[in-house]
Amino acid sequence: MSERVCVVAGAGAWPFYLATGAWVGQENRRFGDATRLGFYSGRQVQGLAPLIRAAVASVPLAAEDAATRALSADPTERRVGEALAAALHDGATAARVSVVLLSPPDDPATASFEPVAHEADTAWTMFQRFVDLDRLRTATSTADLGSG
């Protein structure tokens, strides 16, 4: 059975992932049965679907939390802190956020495929959509992805 990918929308999420290997967004965001995240921005599904390695549903987006976690000896805590610090540096302002730690772009566990273009007038998603990884690997446009 093909792995499920939750493709999230947002122009900032893709460069943020490339820089940090993480996704930071709305508190308590649910990703259903997805084991991977994908990124929709610039009218295409970007060509990487990293594995979800760890997720923190709700954490304060504050310097105290970023600092304490980023200087933790626990590697997962440290990565969460680094993601928070990066989000703060980028100007994120929510009181609490969800942090998802992902396999890095150059990690063999990260699935890669050709970016899938979206050609319709309206956005393919403005929030998130679920698709099978196998479909992403073979699709040439979002029309090939079906309804998910």
Partner: protein, 338 residues
């Protein structure tokens, strides 16, 4: 345990207490003055110190407690009891407990320390307090001319104290045991007060103060502000650029590594103490958010290697692997940029 023997014991112990009460009160006065002066010198102005000497009736009641088997719980209460002299430091918020605790650890011989927050069920709100059993250091005791008895010391926030006092009265001083419903409501109140404590800290932060960062000048200049200045100097950054929260986190790391002064911390870094600006440039190429404290922590990881993890009590292979990978990557990046 015959009634007469209990009475006889009370008589003997009352006589002992009368003989020693002046010594106990002298210890209370000396401890109160000593710790009070230290608190003022450290500018922990919002900390409130209370002391007391155990009263004779309280002593007799405890000293003649039954062991449930016909004997007494304490064979030698005069020697066994440790709460003849007690002290309590109340601080505004739970984040203010740590500076007082550090002060106590520096001033006295700490025989026991128990964090009632850590010992209790972490997922159920309830009693929270930091307890110490301390004695004067030999030189201080001799200078003050007081006995070698220990002093029991509690450090807790005002809200923790409010809950503990009310809970104690309801649980132990009433004529009947509280019902499950009353206990449940007490636990709910503890949760409410814990949330209030967090909210007060958030308000304090919003107002520009730093939670847990009362002026702890007793740290010999290596308080949170001192750590920030030291880290920024090492990283080659301008002064006062990073939020104090980062320096507070770094200070915790340094304490775990055994460094409580700038010299000790610099010594831990070894050659990396000279390579701070170079390390900062390399790290910030991929982590532009990296603060001076983050860079210095990375320097400590590079300098100490496995010792860093040992001091921070990391033993699981995942943690060790991640640590090795990260330090290797940083070294490679440095070599690549050299």
């Amino acid at each position: 345990m015959a009634g007469i023997s209990r009475e006889a014991r009370r008589t003997d112990l009352r006589a002992w207490y009368d003989d020693h009460v002046d010594e106990l009160r002298a210890l209370e006065t000396a401890f109160g003055t000593h710790l009070g002066n230290a608190i003022r010198a450290a500018h922990l102005d919002d900390a409130r110190l209370e002391t007391r000497t155990k009263g004779v009736e309280s002593f007799l009641e405890k000293a003649t407690k039954s062991d449930g088997r016909g004997g007494f719980k304490y064979a030698d209460p005069a020697g066994q009891l440790t709460d003849f002299v007690g002290a309590r430091v109340l601080v505004p918020l739970s984040a203010d407990v740590a500076p007082v605790a550090r002060l106590v650890q520096r001033l006295y011989v700490v025989e026991e320390m128990s964090d009632q927050r850590a010992d209790s069920l972490l997922d159920v709100p309830g009693y929270q307090s930091l307890h110490f059993l301390v004695r004067f250091r030999d030189e201080d005791r001799e200078a003050l001319g007081v006995s070698d008895r220990p002093v029991e010391l509690q450090v807790r926030s005002i809200l923790q104290h409010a809950w503990a006092s009310l809970q104690h009265d309801l649980m132990y001083k009433g004529e009947r045991a509280p019902t499950d419903s009353v206990r449940r409501r007490l636990i709910a109140l503890a949760g409410l007060l814990e949330l209030a404590d967090h909210e007060f800290m958030a308000v304090r932060l919003a107002h520009g103060d730093a939670a847990g960062m009362l002026d702890d000048a007793h740290a010999g200049g290596f308080d949170v502000a001192g750590v920030r200045a030291w880290a920024e100097r090492l990283a080659g950054d301008e002064a006062d650029g990073e939020p104090l929260a980062w320096a507070a986190a770094l200070r915790t790391v340094l304490t775990a590594l055994g460094a409580t002064t700038a010299d000790e911390a610099t010594a831990l870094l070894g050659e990396w103490a000279e390579r701070g600006p170079e390390l900062a440039r390399s790290v910030r190429a991929t982590r532009p958010w990296a603060t001076a404290s983050y860079v210095v922590d990375l320097g400590l990881r590079l300098a100490l290697g496995a010792d860093y993890l040992t001091h921070r009590e990391v033993t699981d292979p995942t943690g060790v692997d991640a640590f090795t990978r990260e330090t290797d990557d940083v070294r490679s990046a440095l070599e690549g940029s050299a």
